[in-house]
């Protein structure tokens, strides 16, 4: 087998999370209008201010246009043909399952298949999981144990009911309602997502995780996540996502807001493995996500780590606003695209406070006929004395039909700031393969080792507990069947 064939077969692993779960859904009309938004609010039994929040966002969204600047091509979703709320029928008409007994066994089985068992005896140790299925949170594990430490970890719907003052204060404060087209849409129709609150002087005792699953063919997923770390607290959070294989494109437009107060630290990791469509580019998820962290307090730190392997189209720029003095922002990303996938992803680091620091490490791997773009902004405001940024974005090309693109924007308005950016594009070197082969490795192992080494800087930033999962996920994409 030639070297390029070996490479191609390695990236061509099958998507093994593409099954569907057969559950009964409550009826909900498709399309978007004021009535639908009120209906979502009614079904979720939301207070008036949330309904208002949604409607205001909807008004803004109507005035906005879908952005066309990302380096991706797709047919614009038909917003009238999407079901914006999708909830499964509950036993005994209960709104929210109180225990696992109330959860549809089909759904439990789904999560078990995905490697996230929810039953108590099987639960992953040391990780609290919030399982989100289509538009609603199914179950959150270890809630009580977390409550002992004072940490609130629940779905955002529950938080709206139980902790309205916190949600009211912070929701929309990092990503405003009308921030961009998809954030506005999300603000209007957001379904479930996770809410995390870590009180002062607390280190969250376990890793928190949310597992998102889109099952319903017609629905989109519009989750909203809000994480707040009070002074001197710490949390590490991970999200994972999968979806079945459908011929139609599905829309996923999430908003994630992180708030870090003084001396707080948030580590947010994503393993994104939405269905990416078939070889011809049919189906797959449109992943249009707004993620933003706000280092509000001095000495705070927000770190984004992402492993992006799925989705037909990705459009995502996790950013950090470094407002507090001495605050730190980090972005570590591995984005793998194959077949007809298109990814336009990167980050924004906005330096406002003094002596703020940011690091960007981005590794893009493109194969097949995919296009992989890095787009990033580093902005140094005139006030940000002593700000420092270091960016590296490397791309690796596998095959002759893929593309790698780099669009780094740097804006510096402070003479004491230092910004460094470097990027390279290359392929797996013949010499490297040859070297490993003459050390006794076969070609496939050699390539696998080189690709892993290329992404390692980022992979090792993942929390221990998830490193295994990430490895597996990348493995599917990168190793696959070598025949």
């Amino acid at each position: 087998m030639s070297e390029s064939e070996a490479l191609e077969s390695m990236v061509g692993g099958e998507y093994k999370y593409g099954f569907t779960t057969d559950v009964e859904y409550e009826d909900f009309p498709t399309g978007i209008n004021e009535e639908i938004i009120r209906e979502i609010s009614r079904r979720k039994d939301e207070p008036e201010w949330v309904t208002e929040f949604r409607l205001e966002a909807f008004e803004k969204w109507k005035e906005m246009e879908e952005p066309d600047w990302p380096n991706v091509e797709y047919d614009r979703p038909d917003f009238d043909n999407i079901q914006y709320y999708s909830s499964t029928k509950k036993k005994d008409g209960k709104k929210k399952p109180e225990s696992l007994d109330d959860v549809d066994p089909e759904i439990l089985e789904t999560y078990e298949k995905l490697g996230i068992p929810l039953e108590e005896q099987k639960q992953l140790q040391g990780i609290a999981v919030d399982a989100v299925f289509d538009s609603e949170s199914i179950f959150t594990t270890f809630k009580e144990k977390l409550a002992e430490a004072g940490v609130i970890f629940c779905s955002i719907s529950e938080a709206i009911q139980d902790h309205p003052e916190l949600v009211k204060q912070y929701m929309g404060s990092v990503v405003p309602k009308g921030d961009n087209f998809y954030a506005a849409l999300n603000s209007a129709v957001f379904s479930d997502g996770s809410f995390v609150y870590v009180p002062e002087d607390t280190v969250c005792p376990m890793e928190l995780s949310t597992y998102f699953r889109i099952n319903n063919m017609q629905s989109g997923q519009f989750e909203r996540t809000l994480i707040i770390c009070e002074d001197n607290s710490q949390v590490s959070y991970l999200e994972g996502c999968t979806a079945p294989m459908y011929q139609e494109n599905q829309l996923h437009a999430a908003v994630v807001e992180l708030v870090a107060l003084e001396d707080a630290e948030i580590k947010y990791s994503t393993i994104q493995n939405w269905y990416s469509g078939d070889e011809e580019g049919n189906g797959g998820i449109f992943n249009f996500v707004t993620k933003r962290g706000h280092c509000r307090g001095d000495n705070s730190k927000i770190s984004w780590t992402q492993v992006e392997t799925g989705s037909a189209i990705t459009w995502k720029y996790p950013s950090v606003i470094l407002q507090g003095d001495n605050s730190t922002g980090e972005f570590y990303s591995v984005a793998v695209t194959n077949q007809r996938q298109q990814a336009d992803t990167g980050t924004k680091m906005i330096h406002v406070g003094k002596n703020t620091k940011s690091t960007i490490i981005s590794k893009g791997i493109s194969a097949g006929e995919s296009n992989n773009s890095y787009r990033g902004l580093v902005k140094i405001s005139p006030r940000a004395d002593g700000a420092q940024n270091y960016s590296v974005c490397d791309s690796m090309l596998i095959g002759q039909t893929c593309g790698a693109h780099t669009f780094p924007y740097i804006e510096s308005a402070n003479p004491t700031a230092k910004v460094e950016h470097e990027a390279s594009t290359s392929r797996v070197g013949e010499e490297q393969i040859f070297y490993l082969q003459q050390r006794g490795m076969d070609e496939d192992d050699a390539i696998s080792m080189i690709v892993n080494g290329f992404a390692k800087e980022v992979l090792q930033k993942l929390p221990m507990e998830f490193a295994v999962e990430a490895d597996k996920l990348l493995g599917i994409k990168l190793e696959g069947s070598v025949g």
Partner: protein, 445 residues
């Protein structure tokens, strides 16, 4: 209160087309080019900040004023022979406000078979080579400024170097802009064709003699045939009130080598758009630049290096020193098209930001569609290193000397490859004057 008529950006260039009529009738060939250019100007919208390529700068300084056609104005100028290069005594073409000045020009040093002259005369004579090459290589699709240059194509330099000819003396293309009471616009066109195995060195020199406002819009077309070698240095020292919007397009054929160095010191608002197109396999090109700006100067460089075939080596080092309220923009695009394998491309933009109010926007950009390539780019924004200053001071230099030396060293890297000695010297002086100015003035905060 009387309403002042506002010049709007949309009609700004179109209104200027009124001047066009007076140019016609001297050469049918040029009339045609102009007519087509005018048509394009009418059909192409004026760029606004909404366009990605014009996002960072405002053209208000340009369109808020009205301008006269330069060749309609009476010219009056002092002696400018200090700007002549000693190497180019007999290989010089001088244009004053865009019109050829035979009195200051001489091409005696060039081999006979080289076609060199000004476009107006060559067109009137019906020169075949001119017809063949003029307006063939400036490929700026939908670009209203290039079209505008065509709409007023009146004069400029034309050089054709035949096969196997090496032009030893550097050719000095001196564009002098005079002081005038009225704002004027001038659109020169330079066409250089290097046929197979030929070699030539060009010094494109834009000098403003006064501190008046004018709009200089030069377009340069270069065509490099197989195995030719063109070295091109562009020095822009327009008046500090001037607007300079320049396009340079080079088509590079097999085994040819295009080396260009662009030095920007003048103009209130300047924009450079070098575009290099690889026309065949095995080519080399360099697109280096140095920008020295202060006060309220704005300098914008948008370059394109288009690798279309296998085996190319390209190099771009773009350095900027920014002081005062100056604003520097860099957007360098490197394209590697599908099947253009074995490309080795290097791009680096380094900015030295010296003042509180200065601003730097930089966006190096890679778009790669072939896998067997090595492409790197880098961008930095920083200031003088405290450690380095300290080191120099410990060696007995005072603060000023140390700063000057470091700025000088930063700038030097981009000009030390220029092969014309006098050009290197004058640039070294220019860097010195710039640094001194920074230290004398209150600019350094």
């Amino acid at each position: 209160m009387a309403k002042v008529k506002q010049q709007t950006e949309q009609t700004f260039l179109q209104d200027l087309l009124d001047f066009q009529g007076s140019l016609n009738g001297k050469s049918e060939f040029l009339d045609e080019v102009r007519l087509k250019g005018a048509e394009e100007v009418r059909n192409t919208p004026f760029p606004t900040k909404k366009l990605e390529d014009w996002k960072f700068i405002s053209l208000r300084d340009l369109y808020r004023d009205s301008y006269e056609l330069a060749s309609n104005l009476e010219v009056d100028f002092p002696d400018f022979s200090e700007h002549f290069l000693p190497e180019s005594k007999e290989s010089r073409l001088v244009f004053i406000n865009g019109s050829f000045s035979a009195e200051h020009s001489s091409t005696k040093a060039l081999p006979e078979e080289v076609v060199i002259g000004n476009i107006a005369n060559l067109a009137a004579e019906g020169n075949e080579q001119l017809k063949e090459h003029l307006h063939k290589h400036a490929d700026f699709e939908d670009d209203v400024f290039t079209s505008f240059n065509s709409a007023f194509l009146e004069d400029g330099a034309f050089i054709y170097v035949p096969k196997d000819v090496t032009v030893e003396a550097p050719v000095h293309l001196l564009f002098i802009q005079t002081d005038a009471d009225k704002n004027y616009f001038t659109t020169s066109r330079t066409v250089v064709v290097a046929d197979e195995d030929s070699e030539i060195t060009l010094v494109e020199d834009h000098i403003g003699l006064g501190d008046n406002k004018y709009f200089n819009l030069p377009v340069v077309e270069l065509n490099l045939e197989d195995r030719s070698f063109v070295k091109h240095t562009k020095i822009q020292r327009d008046s500090f009130e001037a607007i300079h919007i320049a396009r340079t397009a080079a088509s590079v054929a097999q085994h040819a080598n295009y080396e260009s160095y662009t030095i920007t010191r003048g103009a209130k608002l300047s924009r450079n758009e070098p575009r290099i197109f690889q026309m065949d396999e095995e080519v080399e090109f360099t697109v280096d630049g140095l920008v020295l700006i202060d006060g309220d100067q704005v300098s914008d460089t948008h370059s394109v290096m288009d690798h279309r075939f296998s085996h190319a080596e390209s190099h771009q080092l773009h350095k900027c020193v920014i002081n005062g309220k100056a604003h520097s923009v860099f957007n360098g695009k490197i394209y590697v098209q599908k099947d253009a394998q074995k490309i080795d491309s290097f791009q680096e933009n380094r900015n030295l930001l010296l003042s509180r109010k200065g601003l730097v926007n930089t966006k190096p950009q890679l778009e790669i569609f072939a896998d067997d390539v090595v492409c790197t780019h880098g961008a930095t924004v920083g200031q003088l290193e405290e450690d380095e200053l300290f080191y120099l001071k410990s060696r007995g230099l005072d603060e000023q000397q140390a700063r000057e030396l470091l700025i000088y060293a930063f700038a030097l890297e981009t000009i030390e490859n220029i092969t014309v000695d006098s050009v290197q010297e004058l640039l070294v002086d220019e860097v010195h004057r710039y640094t001194e100015r920074q230290l004398d003035s209150e600019l350094t905060v």
